[in-house]
Symmetry: C2
Subunit: 206 residues, 2 copies
């Protein structure tokens, strides 16, 4: 199972690293998470240099493809060469976005006839593409999901893990990052050790 996170220059740091961290808590042998970009490194919104581990065309073969957000999405949605590299298939792939990543999904034609969510400052742009925007943290239609507000990544990634692995892994991974006393408790300690254990065989659904 391969999960691809697509980044670009001027991405919001948290929108890469929250999903990256959550996805990497899954301890299964054939579970692979890649950071894809059009260059060997991309600069975040705060000028952090991040190495990519593959090019964006690899997204077309991934089991799940996730788009990050940030000011950089404004350049991506007008870059037809960049957009043309994607040939995603929502019949076979899970496809998701956080915040303004939804603008890319819209430009790729993946939100046609669907409702979606996005970051508040991107709502009018997404609406200008003819998409009905709803005020929800995560909107799922079949294999396509949009999430809005950085911390809504926990719903988006929970959905990815539940669909690619199972609900137990999804619940455990999302629980593991909750504030103590607010979703995560000291009594959970024994269960959390599963997240640090050696890799185990996956019971893949895909």
């Amino acid at each position: 199972m391969k999960v691809a996170i697509v980044i670009f220059d001027k991405f919001t740091d948290l929108d890469l690293w929250l999903m990256w961290d959550l996805l990497n808590r899954v301890r299964l042998e054939n579970w692979e998470v890649k950071i894809l970009g059009e260059k060997e490194t991309h600069l975040s919104a705060t000028n952090i240099e991040v190495k990519t581990t593959g090019r964006i065309d690899e997204a077309n073969q991934a089991d799940a493809v996730l788009f990050v957000s940030g000011q950089g999405t404004r350049d991506r949605i007008t870059d037809e060469n960049w957009l043309a590299k994607f040939n995603l298939n929502p019949e076979k792939q899970l496809i998701g976005s956080i915040c303004s990543g939804s603008l890319i999904l819209a430009k790729l034609g993946l939100l046609e006839g669907k409702t979606a969510t996005t970051y508040p400052t991107s709502k009018t742009v997404l609406e200008s593409f003819g998409i009905e925007v709803v005020e929800k943290p995560c909107v799922v239609h079949g294999n396509v999901a949009t999430a809005g507000g950085c911390l809504a990544q926990q719903y988006l990634i929970g959905w990815v893990i539940e669909n690619l692995v199972d609900k137990d892994w999804a619940d455990l991974v999302v629980k593991a990052i909750q504030p103590v006393g607010e979703g995560l408790f000291f009594a959970d300690a024994p269960n959390l050790t599963k997240l640090y254990a050696p890799l185990t065989k996956a019971n893949a659904k895909v």
Copy 2:
């Protein structure tokens, strides 16, 4: 105002990047956030190479010092040379930790006679240092705060920003990452533009 985030090898990715991202949303001229380490780069728990922007002794002059967490804390708390580089002053500095970063605060003598919180899998170690551990997301005693569970960083960083800047900036920064419909709303869009505005003069409290 200088905020220092102290990292080390095998740190939890999210425990650096959530606080980094939040702190960098403050748009004030004299606001500086640094990533300190004992080397030019450190490797995260998922083998991401992160460049530091200063050495750990700089923490001694910062207005706020924050310790990340991860499996790497187990090595830090037995490294007397590393611990000896810190000469922190809770009378003059804000000092905080996320998850197992509390073990470092304890070893530095900053939690003596105080209650504290930590990650569930670090509770027994923290207790072995004679600290009373309470099941709360964020425990504040004067200028020293411990937070437990990655997402509790929002309370920790809210506390830092409120004390170094003001409550309006703290509230806005924390609101900006909430899930849409759950703390962040489309009607907030005009206020969020403040987070992308040119730098403004700080009304520093420190």
